[in-house]
Symmetry: C3
Subunit: 396 residues, 3 copies
């Protein structure tokens, strides 16, 4: 086929069941990234199929659930048969060109809007306007707090003024008149210091003292922001905007210590945030998604997803989603892909999520655990409605 649109169902990419509760529900992908603008060679493509630095010697990143999923489910979007060899896939992709492939994949997701973190390794990616045009849907921006802080530092600020400068810049970057529309803040505290830090807002004097050290080290050798006091100051500057705060937890790349990204470590922060009414969006969470689900049940401010895991785990997505829904209230779980670089990840996220949640709900109806009307309502809540309720500024 020629790439260029059509829903997953019309592409034959989702087995149409007798009742398909997610058909026709436009997803809100509440956390993702942009896609690579240029064509990719095979090493470049494989590097984006793993959260690692690259495959081990003598191995291919295609030999994984994610790689097999690409060959099975994305090949038809490129006009190739299912299970096309990896080399054929990469060559056909280059032949069609990145722009056409991204357009086809992103439009096949059936999304209604994308909330995009564009503060991480954005060089080489489409900017948000181009992404919106390619996907054919509105895009909101997730403001990455550490990127803002590092920008402030590099623009020149003294230690005494750093705290207030960061607060003001976060306010400016999240103003409702900005375009692309800012919809949320995000912190990667888990990568930079771990989630097991004191969650309190630091005092101005502490901030100034910490800035004094970090600004000097950054000027000297470009040190990324890893100081826990400054990270906490940034996090609280994000909370001050009143916009939902996204937090990286769980599954990520080799920069993090996984055991220090357990979302349960955020209970102390949740207790502080609970009275403020600011939503805490725990991203990814896998393999701690049961812990995250507990957080979502016991703290009214906490919301959860299993982004990144969903495209990676392939046909295991129903199991992972079912585990999260053991304790997570249906009003507290959201959809996200956390796709980065490859539009295949946006597509696989959407495809696996629809098939998984839809399948779980069909099974629950078949065993008379829930009524079809409730199933339809739950599908819509998790796919879209929870996001529309929690994010005050989803772009329409």
């Amino acid at each position: 086929m020629a790439p260029g649109g059509g829903s997953l169902v019309s592409l034959g990419l989702v087995p149409a069941g007798p009742v398909s509760f997610l058909d026709g529900v436009p997803l809100v992908d509440h956390h993702c990234h942009s896609v690579v603008a240029d064509d990719l060679d095979r090493p470049g493509f494989e590097a984006l199929l793993t959260e690692g630095a690259g495959p081990a010697p003598g191995t291919s990143a295609f030999d994984s659930r994610l790689g097999f999923s690409v060959r099975r489910w994305c090949s038809p979007v490129l006009g190739l048969p299912p299970h096309a060899p990896a080399q054929d896939y990469v060559e056909r992709r280059a032949e069609l060109g990145a722009a056409a492939v991204s357009r086809a994949m992103l439009r096949a997701t059936g999304s209604g809007s994308l909330l995009v973190d564009h503060g991480f390794a954005a060089g080489g990616l489409l900017d948000l306007d181009a992404l919106a045009q390619t996907a054919g849907i509105p895009v909101g921006e997730v403001v990455r707090l550490e990127a803002v802080a590092e920008g402030i530092a590099d623009a020149g600020v003294d230690a005494a003024g750093f705290g207030e400068a960061l607060r003001a810049e976060v306010a400016r970057r999240t103003a409702p008149e900005r375009r692309p529309l800012p919809v949320a803040c995000k912190t990667v505290l888990a990568y930079r210091a771990g989630l097991d830090v004191d969650p309190h807002r630091p005092e101005p004097a502490e901030v100034a003292a910490a800035a004094d050290g970090w600004l000097a080290r950054r000027a000297r050798d470009g040190e990324p922001l890893r100081d826990p006091v400054l990270l906490r100051h940034g996090l609280w500057a994000g909370l001050d905007t009143g916009l939902p705060l996204q937090l990286h937890t769980g599954f990520g790349d080799s920069d993090e210590d996984l055991h220090r990204s357990d979302p349960a470590l955020l209970a102390g922060l949740a207790r502080l945030v609970e009275p403020l009414g600011v939503p805490l969006m725990l991203l990814h969470t896998y393999p701690f998604h049961r812990q995250a689900a507990w957080m979502a049940q016991v703290f009214s401010c906490v919301y959860v997803d299993v982004s990144l895991a969903v495209p990676h785990v392939g046909s295991r997505a129903p199991d992972v989603i079912a585990e999260m829904l053991e304790l997570a209230p249906f009003a507290k779980m959201l959809y996200a892909s956390d796709a980065y670089g490859l539009p295949e990840l946006h597509l696989l996220g959407a495809l696996r999520f629809r098939a998984a949640l839809g399948g779980l709900l069909e099974q629950a109806c078949a065993t008379d655990e829930i009524s079809p009307a409730d199933a339809e309502r739950v599908a819509s809540m998790i796919a879209r409605d929870n996001a529309l309720r929690v994010y005050p500024r989803i772009p329409a």
Copy 2:
């Protein structure tokens, strides 16, 4: 139907399989609480459907696996159709009255006895005599050590005498001639200080010094018992009785830090208790039930359950129980509901447990992994016999 009795099967609440290994086995619910005495309005009912402080703004606690389970499986007990709307359910419940509803639900569980912790937020709950009468079965008391310690403090004791006074009061409260019959002690160390504390019995001088500080703070501002030394002293006072010691681990409410309630943190305590022969009953354990199962395999004194999770996770109960039984010896797992406040939780605990364990055993027979005779024996062990062997005083 008119509430008032009948087994789960006669009520059509459990699909009767070709072989139903748990039919007719009266459960020992080895850890639960009492039920609310008065009628509940909708907010009051919803507050008891979650371990959190209440649902998030714009959401309902009925929108969860537990809420859907109530509507599906408890509605028929109230004479409503399955999947009755939440509002209908709460109204019908009030119409019938709390007493009739509790009587119907508790009797439908098919339990043989209840071991009840009545030391937590017991105001507004039926006392244990009334609970026994409502349920129509004997009730034993689980003595909550922290409640005893706080009672001692409030009754007036000096720091030098606190340690011995607590020991004596625990002994008095667990005497075999007391009624309701004391069957076990329980500690909520996980909530109060975390399970990652030094497990050794503290010295009398340490206890006196810690009591000196806490008694003053409690007199001044009512501070709950959170001092690790005093908590450990209480725990060892419980062990000194020789009765099984129940420990809260895993899933609980927002007061706890979940990662500090991992039952594997109790390995040090288990090593100290192993030679004493006092059973350590690890309650709840989810989402650390695989870790708990490991404890049950490697320490002969350790026993486990997945209480609280079983009613909450609904139709996922077979998965959770199967995970625990990966490593847990069949003689080391027990049944409990950890139901609190709503008799729906007692009923759902029993219903899900019977269906889940029964289903797993039927499947194991169908694939010829175990013989029907062994399946029947394992069902009986976990549902009742292990409790009868481990608790020397189950009330008959």
Copy 3:
């Protein structure tokens, strides 16, 4: 039947599916131990069915998934009907004699080679030559670093010379001309100090200082090697050989603190080893196998298995393997049994692994998630080819 050979399929021990991707693939069991040389009475047999010190009073180690698996799947190898009573099983086993039973069980595994750690409680076990003869296949040796260090200490060495003596002895014990052929080193750091230690190579002066203390304590009271500095020195001596380094993680016996054996705690070590190109083989990993799989994806030097769990969890093996394969690249997972003492464990490891992985792959073909050609390739990678690629000296 008379024990003495035949494949699992010819013995009727694996349900032959329409496509059986693991038929005819000789397994490399990349981590196991030897078997008990003499006949076992019932207590002796039961003690080897659990990772604990033994069953609780009034219970039997046969009442577990592993015990039921022995009765179901190993009985026919002894000429008994499936589900034979435990007592019959132990008696028949003694009647046939340990040598015949071991020969039958080990040969039924369909293994191509065994990599054996013979440094743990090896008294009473067949030596590696006898094991190779009994199994009828080549055996390689996994050199246990802590056993080497304790041997050095007991042979007499002074603190100043300990570090170099250990390094030299590890080099000698792993020389390619040794027989049995040394194929890997192994550390039980998890048992001795926990995996949450500083991963850096210690300085010679630190090693000498630590040796000074430990050698004195060992001479006085036989203290096992638990000093973190010396353990790290041993670990780095192992890495210096360039052979794959096996690390105990996760599931083990009651000597360990399970939460300190989470393989994710090894991220710091993996970052140091990544540039060296030495493979880190994370053994067992359960119940942290999802964390381990993440390590295998993000660090090119990391490889994983679910040994020990596979025979223990019985018919749950497909679930555990599927969870590991959510994130683990197919080129990074290996087969191992971690069997110790009982050849039943070698057999059950192989049987469960073949049935589980084969079944998962058949299901993936049936749902058209992967092609049969890919399924066959993945089966072969995990069962054998990854080991052949990673271990430079697998004995042929």
